[in-house]
Amino acid sequence: MKYNITIIGAGIIGSSIAYCLSKYDCSILVVDKENDIANEVSMANSAIVHAGHDPEDGTLKALLNVEGNRMYPQLCEDIGARIRHVGAYTVMTSPEQQATMDALIKRAEERNIPYEVLTAEEARKEEPNLADDVIKVLSLPSTAIIIPWEVALKQMQVAVLNGTEVKLNCEVKAIRKNENGYVLETSQGEIETEYVINCAGLYADRIANMIAPLDIHTNPRRGEYFVLSHDAKDFVHHIVYPIPTDKGKGILAVPTVDENILLGPNAEETGSCEAINTTSSGLGYIRQELARSVKNVPFHHTIRTFAGLRPSISTKDFYIKKAEGEENFLNLLGIDSPGIASAPAIARYVDDLLKLPYEVKASYETKNPYRFNFQDLTPEEKDAYIKEHPAYGNIVCRCEQISEGEIIQSIHEVLGAHSIKSVKKRVRPGMGKCQGGFCQPLVLEILARELKVRPEDVLYDQIGSNVVLDWKGGNGNA
């Protein structure tokens, strides 16, 4: 198999790059070791498009965050992804934080980022659950939330419609050079490619070292989170967090696109790319630290806890450079916060940096054609649609009210759902209060039927995560 460009990693960065480069008249392959798009770092994070006032002057983070934030509204419109400009409230709780506050304001001013300083009283009108000792709030209305895996998937779908190929469950094991460029030795055989773009997230340092030794290491930093049910949706309406310290942005309270509340993350270096376990100490720390910025936290509405890893590096800035002595091998390391906010700008930066020798195609897609969302219909429109498409009337997930029709739709799109979790990421069955208790068996049945596989071959997520173990002849086949 030969390609002009191979992108390693199908997270939000790989997807954004594929979306951007798929305009060129060349062959592009995206490989990922996971069983779905955006399945690791891009799946477990705070989902925030930061305004861009936080990164220090002169950093790539500052440059790309500000630009990315400005690109997002148009991007989301083009790809049909949802974005909510909820705004951020950075809260100050002691006079000693004034200097940091001033520095943030100065940066916002210089970078043309809209902001407003609110008194505690003004802020409390909007957010009654702000902690009692909040004395001042920096409001940043251009801060938004997205669903990172949705933004990744919808960009990648457009890339695929433009001719990009995606190979999942394809792990790069080694890389060697040949006369035309590089040969990737993968779990699915050898891939020849002229260009390599390494955006492998947690594993980007390992991939980089396969071609030229690099003195930068990824130190996975774990962040744990609580997810609260829709019953808690009015707890906060802005992203609320304390004035940042050396340790990071502090513990956030985030209203999500789908009207849940996300609380977290802590930050802990784990030294392992697999340590996505939650801990009592980590969750306890979040409970304790949240009190700095908010009160009356409705923890009793918790429906899930999870942990994600950030692909942090010691220099603390994004590292986007060609490998030593290699014109056509680009490494992207340390894409942690504000990586999501920066993703579209990173893709543009990569495009500029590579100066690819390919022509832009005479015609290519920038818009995602999958726009139909049954949930947006009025009751009358739903009735009419169900009469034509009965599966949309059959509710599979009661908590999130997801119909069989929507699940089938997600399975048959480009890069369609093919596991319980990939269905959940695309259309949400299992994201509600019962966490799939009622709907998972139904989703399993639909997947088996639509994909024409045995139910015991249906995976929850990765290879080896089969949901049911063996078929003993229920459902009339006894």
Partner: protein, 417 residues
């Protein structure tokens, strides 16, 4: 818009009993809405026996018990729309309904809420560790095994000694799996005594009281759980860890009434039961809206669910006939040692010859007595050799007593002298 006198949301044991009772009380314009493919609700996956000892004086399986009521409803000509989900419920008693023939709005005069309950999940109880495949709530596991006919694991540990957990310990054993034990956070089991004997002791499955799961390992499939003993404040005691190599962890850590629709309609919940507050006819504070079964409070026996469904059905019929008008009675109160008392109010103390009160104790008691008071006046004392949180207790009071209650009716437990 379709108009129906009384809509019953949920065709499980509570909904079926309510509908039958409505019909028997002269209400013909009824409709049961059931999300599943057939009536019976969760009973359909409870293939073990033990249902109906009170109702029928015999031990039926869950499906057999459900069938008796489904047959009655059928004989009475009560319409049931299956594979039909209620997606919204509004204070004006309009109901949005979705099924494969369309999306419809129904206007009801009275509504019986009978949506049942949900299981508490791993996320809700925040077990630390990985989130691998192989961790199920006991009810979901029961469905996979009993309805769909799949095997879900070979080596199993169970957290929580609720009844479904106990039943599944036996079920998984009979399916050829090895059940290594059950951990229970409390120093006593939350399941029925008969289930502890018949599901654990008979199969030699150890029950670890005052233990909880403190770590889950393995990815993508579960391969290890760690349990740890807890102190009197339910905090894990370091050094008491035990590790079990298992591929499956079942959770039987409590049930929560499924009141998403109720809350959306603006009806507040009682934080103790997590169901609506009701009077003796199972009527919520919103006139014409009734609730029965596990959506009201979590029951131990289905027979009691049926009885409560009947009560709600009779109440809804009275409401529709204009017989429930002037509310004026007294509230009830959970006193010392009691978790909650149902109904939370008595609104029509003279209407019926008796009113039945249900409650659960917070902790186990031996040689205790139940005391029923009106303010400081003791109305009734009942000696009990044993009281368990797992088992619902009942007190019945006649209307000549109820008519004279001045303050609030308090039910409490006292250690016998």
């Amino acid at each position: 818009m379709r108009k129906v006198q009384c809509v019953i949301i949920g065709g499980g044991s509570a909904g079926l009993a309510a509908a039958v009772e409505l019909k028997k009380n002269g209400i013909d314009d009824l409709l049961i809405l059931e999300k599943g493919p057939e009536p019976g609700g969760i009973l359909n996956q409870c293939i073990h026996n033990g249902f109906g000892l009170h109702e029928f004086k015999e031990e039926l399986s869950g499906p057999a018990y459900a069938e008796r009521f489904a047959d009655q409803a059928k004989e009475l000509g009560i319409p049931i729309e299956c594979n039909t989900t209620v997606t919204a419920f509004y204070p004006d008693k309009t109901i949005e309904v979705s099924n494969s023939s369309g999306y419809e709005i129904i206007q009801a005069e009275a509504v019986v809420l009978a949506m049942g309950c949900q299981e508490r999940t791993a996320g809700q109880i925040q077990i630390p560790g990985m989130r691998p495949q192989g961790v199920y709530t006991a009810g979901t596991a029961q469905r996979y095994v009993n309805i769909d006919g799949y095997s879900i694991g070979k080596r199993v540990f169970i957290l929580g000694s609720g009844d479904i957990g106990l039943i599944m310990a036996r079920r998984m054993t009979l399916e050829g799996a090895k059940v290594l034990g059950i951990a229970e956070l409390m120093p006593y089991s939350n399941g029925l005594q008969r289930n502890i004997v018949q599901c654990l002791k008979d199969y030699g499955i150890p029950l670890y009281l005052s233990h909880t799961v403190t770590n889950i390992e393995g990815f993508p499939r579960l391969n290890k759980v760690t349990i740890t003993e807890v102190d009197a404040n339910r905090r894990p005691i370091p050094g008491t860890e035990k590790v079990f190599e298992v591929d499956t962890l079942l959770l039987s850590v409590g049930l929560v009434p499924d009141n998403t629709l109720t809350v959306e309609a603006g009806i507040q919940l009682d934080p103790r039961t997590r169901g609506v507050e009701v009077n003796e006819y199972c009527e919520s504070p919103m006139p014409g809206v009734f609730a029965a079964g596990n959506v009201l409070h979590v029951h131990d026996l289905v027979d009691y669910v049926t009885a409560e469904g009947r009560k709600a059905g009779r109440g809804a019929a009275k409401y529709l006939k204009g017989e429930l008008k002037e509310r004026g009675g007294f509230p009830t109160k959970a006193g010392n040692g009691v978790g909650y008392v149902l109904p939370q109010r008595v609104d029509y103390p003279k209407e019926d010859p008796t009113v039945e009160f249900s409650f659960r104790v917070r902790t186990p008691y031996k040689n205790a007595k139940i005391v029923v008071r009106d303010g400081d006046t003791v109305l009734k004392e009942i000696k009990k050799p044993a009281l368990l949180p797992a088992e619902m207790e009942k007190v019945i009071l006649p209307n000549n007593v109820l008519a004279n209650i001045r303050n609030e009716l308090t039910i409490e437990v006292k250690e016998a002298e």
